[in-house]
Structures are given as structure tokens and as C-alpha cells.
Symmetry: C2
Subunit: 139 residues, 2 copies
């Protein structure tokens, strides 16, 4: 058992029907590792399709590592930046346009933006009008 695996809890969590902690923590671990790499692949594909150079990790990794350090210090809601966290629908629309112009599907960007929206709401960073406007672009 890897060192990050939790002790088996004494009873099922009431919010979790069908107690399958092994599948849940394996899925969570896979999101945290290879799921993150999938996001970097998408960022690299956008970088490359936009003519900004090869789909190299090199310009992207420092951004990711910096975001992780900020999240470790402040927590995720306080660490999210960018148009969703600022309530900037114009820039978010331009990001979606950039995906389309690069010939990339926008399902991943939308799914990620919805989670960023939830984090920004948790942090109390958006008013109701901003939340509604962002959500209208995303769903």
C-alpha cells in the first residue's frame, strides 16, 4: 500500500453509497498524477497549434509548479487565478475562441473552468452576476 493511502475508515461515509474506497482513492490518485499531465498535454497542444513553438513542457512546468506551491500555502480556492477567478467573461470567451481557432475541442477547458468557478465561489471572489455570466458561457 503506498504511503499516501489512508487508513481504512471504521464505517462508510454517509455521502458515499456503495463503499468502494479503493476505487475512489485510486481514481483520486490518478487524477492528481496523470490527470494533471493530461491538462499539460492540452496546454501544450494549444501552444503548438497557435504557432507558439513545439508542444514542449519546458515553458509550462514552472507555471504548474508555481501554482502548486501557491495552493500548498493558501489552499486551492485562494490559489486559482485567471479569468474565471476574476469574473472576466470577456477573457474566458477569448480562451474558448483560442481553443476553437486551434482546432481543439473545448470539453476539457469547460470542465476545468467549471471547477475553477466553484473554487472562486468558495473563496467569495465572485458576485452573483459574475457567477451567472461565467456559468452561461460554460454550460
Amino acid at each position: 500500500m503506498p504511503t499516501w493511502a489512508p487508513a481504512r475508515p471504521a464505517s462508510p461515509a454517509s455521502s458515499f453509497s456503495g463503499w468502494k474506497p479503493a476505487a475512489a482513492y485510486h481514481a483520486a490518485a490518478n487524477l492528481a498524477a496523470s490527470g494533471v499531465l493530461a491538462v499539460l498535454a492540452e496546454a501544450g497542444a494549444l501552444w503548438s497549434a497557435a504557432g507558439l513553438g513545439n508542444a514542449s513542457l519546458q515553458p509550462l512546468l514552472p507555471l504548474t509548479r508555481g501554482a502548486l506551491d501557491t495552493a500548498a500555502a493558501r489552499g486551492l480556492p485562494g490559489a486559482v487565478s485567471g479569468p474565471v477567478a476574476r469574473g472576466d467573461t470577456g477573457v474566458l470567451a477569448r480562451h474558448l475562441d483560442a481553443m476553437h481557432a486551434a482546432g481543439l475541442p473545448d470539453d476539457l477547458l469547460r470542465a476545468l473552468a467549471l471547477r475553477q468557478l466553484a473554487l472562486a465561489e468558495t473563496a467569495g471572489r465572485l458576485d452573483a452576476a459574475q457567477t451567472s455570466a461565467l456559468r452561461a458561457l460554460l454550460v
Copy 2:
């Protein structure tokens, strides 16, 4: 201009209709930073909903940092692990079940798994039957 910003290329990339490198690199940078944090939020939500403890970053961050180190050394296709990279449809189905049992939507997990599938194909790690079976679960 941040230090990671590329020099403005002399001419538009032919694959990119409507030359908007600023939007493209801002979107790529946002994916690499806050997009990654959104994945960690999802992993934490699954962790918590499964009764494995609070949605803490602490058990997840070492997994993410380890995956980034592996990707820096080997490239993304060689660094992806988990059921998609192994062609294991049974485990992938259990990961999707774990999301559903936790009351979480599966759009993000599916979007990430499709990119992991593309990386595994790039690395030549899957045969045609594995690719078809995984894709059938995901789209």
C-alpha cells in the same frame, strides 16, 4: 510580458486561423496553472466524498509533483500511468463508478481520460482493441 512568453512569430501558423497568440498563450498558461488546480480540487472532492478524509491537498501534492518530475524526464506520453495507459477498461469503469457513487459529475474525468488515451497512443502503448474498448467507455 512574463518571462515564459514567446517571441512574436514572424508569420501566422498555418494551422491557426485568426492569429491570436496572446489569447492562445494566456489560455495555455491558465490551463497549466489554474487548470491543474481544478483537477486537484476534483481529486480532493472525490477523496472527501468517499469518506477518505478531508479534501486536503496534502496526500495529493506529492503524487502531482512526482508526475511532473517524471514528465520532465521522459516527456508526457511516457509519464502517463493508470488504467488508460495500461489499457485496463475494468479499472477505468471502476473509476467512473467511484465518481458516480460520490455524486460527482464525470465530465472532467472523461475529458482527462481521452487526453491520456491520446498520449498512450502516441507512446505506442495500446493496441487497436484496447484503444477501441477504452474509447467506447469514454465517448
